[in-house]
């Protein structure tokens, strides 16, 4: 039974990618188990300059999920390349650099630096406010998606994954803009914007007021958007949103994903990576799936 998948010519030994934001740069989870079992890792979102992030609280519990508003705390691209990347590469799994930015110029500078580094792929986080456009998120407007992806494409010599925000009216329109602007693959979904209120204090729970919803609660939306894009566009897709079992992975692959990203599950179960891989292996054995790549987009509608 073969779990190997191909993502933009990078070979992953299995379709499980550790999602950006929940896995740091891998060191903490490597203390619990050998993170080399992952197909790949997408690191914590990097910005050009180091960022301190938001004040507490940054997390709120919801039904079957959680809201986060970390504020992209990260050491900056330079510090990542110097201090984190060498150790990660020693784990011998593909490294995907997730990049955030607040202007097209910032994205371009960050990608230029990463293009000169040994990361295997770049994942563009476009769920960031464009300061030049009054804080409107890049990923909500097709024109802005085109602008940032085109500019990054010119300087990016690595496979370019564009990570979509689900906080939009028409995800296919956004995906089309990303594809036409030069994306090699699309990953989705990022978090859904939500609000948590502390009824006794009569205040929002999070310091930043709203935050991003993730976890099992969002899976139906993630699957729906993935399927919509897979039905209309021909481009490799990476699915994510509430995956917590081997069976969940199969659902995303059937819906059109070549690989998946798993994030929030690590928070509730620190051994989620090895557990879910074992579950996927068992599912394939039970269902007589010889090559996982054979069932991509296999949903019968």
């Amino acid at each position: 039974m073969n779990l190997q998948v191909d993502l933009c010519s990078v070979k992953l030994k299995n379709p499980l990618i550790a999602a950006s934001g929940t896995f740091g740069f891998g060191r903490e989870y490597d203390e619990l188990y050998d993170i080399s079992m992952w197909g790949a890792i997408s690191v914590k979102g990097l910005t050009l300059e180091p960022r301190l992030g938001n004040p507490p609280h940054r997390i709120a519990e919801t039904a079957s999920g959680m809201l986060n508003s970390v504020g992209l705390q990260n050491p900056g691209v330079d510090a990542f390349i110097k201090n984190e990347l060498p150790w990660l590469l020693s784990k011998k799994i593909p490294v995907i650099a997730n990049v955030a930015g607040f202007s097209v110029a910032e994205y371009v500078k960050s990608i230029q630096k990463l293009s000169d580094s040994d990361v295997d792929m770049v994942e563009l986080n476009i769920s960031c406010p464009n300061v030049k456009c009054g804080g409107l998120h890049f990923g909500t407007e097709p024109d802005q998606v085109s602008e940032v992806v085109e500019a990054v494409r010119k300087v990016c010599n690595k496979p370019l994954i564009v990570k979509l925000s689900p906080n939009v009216t028409d995800i296919v329109e956004i995906a089309t803009a990303a594809k036409n602007a030069g994306a090699d693959a699309i990953s989705l979904i990022n978090t859904l914007t939500g609000l948590s209120i502390d009824a006794r204090k009569r205040k929002p729970t999070l310091a930043n007021i709203t935050g991003g919803l993730s976890g099992p609660a969002v899976k139906p939306i993630a699957l729906r958007m993935l399927w919509q894009i897979a039905s209309k566009l021909d481009i490799p897709l990476v699915g994510m949103g509430g995956i917590n079992s081997g069976e969940d992975i199969i659902e995303f692959i059937l819906a059109g994903a070549s690989a998946v990203m798993i994030g929030t599950a690590n928070i509730t179960d620190p051994l989620a990576g090895p557990r879910i891989l074992a579950e996927l292996t068992q599912f394939c054995k039970d269902d007589n799936i010889q090559n996982i790549a054979d069932i991509v987009d296999g949903l019968q509608v």
Partner: protein
């Protein structure tokens, strides 16, 4: 490490406070006072972080205050039920520094309020086991919320303050000429703020164990941040990994 533990005891020791003993299914090599466990609670999405109050023979004792959905469910656990927890987590208090201070004729004070006394009890037990002495300042909201007074008096000089502010008792001791070399603390933010001001004024070295809403508990997700002063102003540190114990004088409360 992740372990399954069996509830062997759960008793109410004060208003809204339960003492719960958990028998772990694996040997846990070393647990330091100030470390905590991250417990998966039925019907709650996120785990709950709880300080370890004491540990011996594979039994971890925690004190849980019922303040919301998760803690209420923990207080309802029945003996012989099983729970899944990550343990031990966090940096813990620097017990080597504490022991060295006492052995060099220095004085160490434990200052805590309410449920914050749980990790300080572990400190007191640790020090007692070495036949050494500490002074303990215990703060409680009122008689109904008081607990472990006998257990603390078992091992150290105790000043308990019921109602009012335990930091008033600390100030009083300082003014009468008793100055410690080191303070370990844990409790509500107002207590830590007052204590920080006292320590700055009297130039006393102090550590505090903080609490925060947590995600992963292992330092990867960055949601449990505490503002810590440094040469460039401040940065955010992870309460679960860089803490929960920090230099109190550097904590921005």
């Amino acid at each position: 490490m992740l372990c399954t533990a069996k509830v062997v005891k759960n008793i109410c020791i004060a208003k809204d406070i339960h003492e719960i003993q958990l028998l772990c299914n694996v040997d846990i090599p070393k647990i330091l006072p100030g470390q905590f466990v991250h417990i998966a609670v039925q019907d709650c999405f996120l785990r709950r972080p709880i300080s370890i109050a004491t540990y011996s023979n594979n039994i971890i004792t925690i004190l849980v205050q019922n303040v919301g959905k998760g803690s209420e469910l923990l207080c309802d656990l029945l003996p012989s039920q099983h729970i899944n927890m990550l343990c031990p987590l966090g940096n813990g208090f620097n017990m080597k520094e504490v022991v060295d201070t006492i052995q060099n004729k220095g004085r160490v004070w434990l200052v805590g309020g309410g449920i914050g006394l749980a990790p300080l009890f572990f400190c007191a037990q640790y020090i007692k086991a070495l036949s050494l002495k500490v002074d303990v300042f215990l703060g409680y909201r009122d008689d109904a919320h008081a607990f472990y007074i006998n257990e603390f008096s078992d091992c150290s000089t105790v000043i308990s303050n019921i109602g009012g502010f335990v930091t008033d008792a600390v100030s009083k001791s300082l003014e009468s000429g008793n100055i410690p070399d080191l303070i370990l603390s844990c409790g509500p933010s107002p207590l830590l703020s007052s204590l920080k001001a006292i320590c700055v004024k009297h130039k006393i070295k102090a550590y505090a164990s903080l609490e925060a809403r947590m995600g992963c508990g292992v330092g990867a997700c960055l949601v449990c941040n505490a503002k810590i002063a440094n040469n460039d102003g401040y940065s955010y540190k992870r309460v679960c990994k860089d803490g929960p114990v920090f230099n109190l004088l550097e904590v921005e409360l």
